[in-house]
């Protein structure tokens, strides 16, 4: 649904269309809890100085990656951003190695050389967080190109923000994907559903003059639409359609999801954003699940506990892991013997 009623409150969604069966519902719930628990823990680790540099948080956006990745297979690829943790976890990345990487340890996916901004895990198709706004998007076209040529039904999902949507490379890639009819879904997470912000600062000039980035899809001859990113059921529904479209060779789609970032700012918060609270995707989902009597108190507690244990295990793994050998500073420049 187009978010034109975003100021009307959110209760209207709660009982709308039922897309998911109960098990799938709980599965998604678990993923979202995992991301939230993980990032909450990361903040502590970060404050304790265990993570060498600041990075972007996905908190408040969990509904998007979760609803999208529910349709992805292990071999499908995603390209991510400077706010990658949610995308990676939803895609099924191993938390131990993820945490080790964020702590710069030898046991991380990338030997501690990537950090949050450049994590790669080919195993799960997580082909790149990226520290340069928009830069993973052209590369995603390349993953999709491989899929098209190999014709093995894999698809690619390419994430970016509404700020990133203005980068030339992203706009070029939307066109390229359309011209080559690539099996790819572009996901724009619009974190300025109300006031336009960049890195948490309210902007004095707008960075967009349109309410919905998805209307740009028409300019590339592909379908596009805008939806509530805080409603994982809605995300699941529309992402499914777009991913199926790509998988069946019908070409790219641009989906936009409005999201509210709770703790996402790299440079420190400017306002408490109390107003964002009602748009918490986990609260919305819990509400739905309770109303539909899917989530019992004990199931909820069990899930939360299990996920917390998983996360704590990952932290323990990371903290007890060794630093990379100093000569790793010089390896991997060319990916083999120099």
């Amino acid at each position: 649904m187009l978010v034109n009623d975003k100021f009307l409150g959110i209760t209207s969604y709660l009982m709308s269309k039922i897309v998911l069966d109960n098990d799938k519902f709980l599965e998604l719930y678990r993923v979202m809890i995992r991301i939230r628990t993980y990032e909450t823990t990361l903040r502590t680790l970060s404050r304790e100085g265990k993570i060498p540099a600041r990075f972007g948080m996905y908190t408040g956006q969990e509904g998007v990656a979760t609803g999208v990745s529910a349709h992805l297979k292990k071999d499908d690829q995603i390209g991510s951003t400077h706010r990658p943790v949610g995308h990676l976890i939803a895609k099924g990345i191993n938390l131990d190695k993820l945490t080790a990487e964020l702590c710069g340890k030898a046991t991380g996916f990338n030997k501690g050389k990537a950090g949050s901004y450049h994590i790669f895990d080919p195993e799960t198709g997580c082909l790149g967080a990226n520290g340069i706004v928009g830069a993973s998007v052209p590369m995603c076209a390349g993953y999709a190109l491989r899929n098209q040529i190999k014709n093995d039904g894999r698809v690619t999902v390419s994430y970016f923000g509404e700020g990133g949507s203005n980068q030339g490379g992203i706009q070029e890639t939307l066109n390229l994907a359309a011209c080559w009819n690539l099996p790819i879904v572009f996901i724009c997470e619009n974190s300025s559903p109300v006031v336009q912000r960049m890195l948490g600062h309210e902007m004095d000039y707008p960075q967009l003059t349109i309410d919905n980035v998805s209307i740009r899809a028409a300019g590339y001859g592909m379908p596009g639409s805008t939806h509530d990113g805080w409603d994982v059921e809605e995300v699941y529904r529309v992402a499914g359609e777009a991913i199926n479209r790509a998988r069946s060779g019908k070409g790219p789609t641009l989906l936009e999801f409005k999201v509210h970032q709770f703790e996402g700012n790299l440079e420190g918060r400017l306002e408490a954003n109390e107003k964002d609270k009602p748009f918490c995707p986990i609260d919305v989902l819990e509400h739905k699940l309770r109303i539909r009597q899917i989530l019992k108190k004990d199931t909820e507690e069990k899930i939360r506990l299990e996920e917390l244990e998983l996360v704590q295990k990952a932290v323990k793994f990371a903290l007890s892991s060794p630093e990379p050998d100093i000569k790793e500073a010089y390896t991997d420049v060319f990916g083999g013997a120099f």
Binding site: G112, A114, D204, E267, V333
Partner: protein, 324 residues
């Protein structure tokens, strides 16, 4: 004159404030430049309004290009790149349009633009958030490249940059923003292309800029009872004050270049090549470069430290050079 100790960030802010106050053709463009949280640009929006201090979308090609166009038509834009690394998305505007248009137009247009950018490693920010890139800008024609290392120089060099009628890339090392120093309240300029001999000495010459100047001075200080080290800060990477360097070599006959940028085809190579051509007869031994190897910056802090020059490594190299 009483001392007035402020940070480099405040010194930069002061230079922009003073110039913008005097000349309404100066505008400031960039991402989040209206924010009250960022040192160098703090308060400028409030003082000069949103027309002149203008937030741009995350599209460096467009707003750097707009700065170039505004400069061609008579404004004097200061354009801010949040980090120099992000400028790679806009290299055609920077290197082709900004750097070459005056020449291509046979002097018919001038481009009085100052492209400010944060640079520098040492904060575990990884391969795309840690570069210096000044060798790259200096290699390409038509751009003056400025790199202050003290608050005093920062104010004087930025004032000169804003006033000069050509394209400048003005680089600010993130680890120097909070370094403090004496900065006179009144206006002053430091000409581009003039080096500063920060430490006089007779045994060996070190050329170093930005953060590496500080590391070199530390090393010189530590070793001063054994070796007399002359430390030169070029202050502008291009144009280069060759004379100051060559004069120093006449005295010392030994040269070390310390450079945070990548070594291969970098600024350190240029200084070495200069000396090997124009001071060959004075040289008493090989010229050494201590620069970042041609390796991306790793996220892990220990690995990152391994790659970067620092006072300790400089000191060792001085010992080696003197021993030869």
């Amino acid at each position: 004159m009483p001392e007035r100790i402020i940070t480099m960030s405040e010194a930069l802010n002061e230079a922009m404030f003073n110039e913008m106050k005097k000349n309404s053709d100066i505008i400031l463009l960039g991402e989040n430049v209206s924010s009250s949280f960022r040192g160098p640009t703090k308060g400028l929006k409030d003082a000069f309004g949103r027309e002149r201090v203008r937030d741009a979308p995350i599209s460096e090609t467009s707003f750097i290009g707009a700065g170039i166009g505004a400069a061609i038509t008579g404004l004097r834009p200061i354009v801010e790149l949040m980090l120099v690394d992000f400028g790679l998305v806009a290299m055609d505007q920077i290197l082709n349009q900004m750097g070459k248009t005056t020449y291509m137009s046979g002097g018919a247009v001038k481009i009085p633009i100052t492209l400010r950018a944060v640079i520098g490693a040492g904060t575990s920010s990884g391969a795309t958030h840690s570069e210096s890139l000044y060798s790259l800008f200096a290699h390409m024609p038509g751009i003056k490249v400025v790199l202050p290392s003290t608050p005093y120089d920062a104010k004087g060099l930025l004032t000169s940059s804003i006033r000069e009628n050509c394209p400048k890339v003005f680089l600010e090392h993130r680890l120097l923003y909070n370094v403090k120093g004496n900065v006179p309240k009144e206006e002053y300029t430091i000409p581009l292309g003039v080096a500063n001999t920060c430490n006089e000495g007779n045994d060996v010459t070190i050329v170093a800029s930005g953060l590496m100047l500080h590391e070199s001075l530390k090393a010189a200080e530590k070793i001063k009872n054994k070796v007399s080290v002359e430390v030169i800060d070029p202050r502008t990477i291009y144009p280069l004050d060759e004379e100051t360097i060559l004069k120093s070599l006449q005295k010392t006959g030994r040269l070390i270049v310390v450079d945070e940028d990548y070594r291969y085809c970098g600024f350190s190579a240029e200084i070495a090549a200069l000396a090997a051509e124009k001071a060959f007869k004075q040289l008493k031994g090989p010229i050494y470069r201590l620069a970042t190897p041609n390796t991306p910056f790793p996220f892990n802090p220990r690995l990152e430290r391994e790659l970067l020059p620092n006072a300790e490594k400089i000191e060792k190299l001085i010992q080696k050079v003197i021993g030869e």
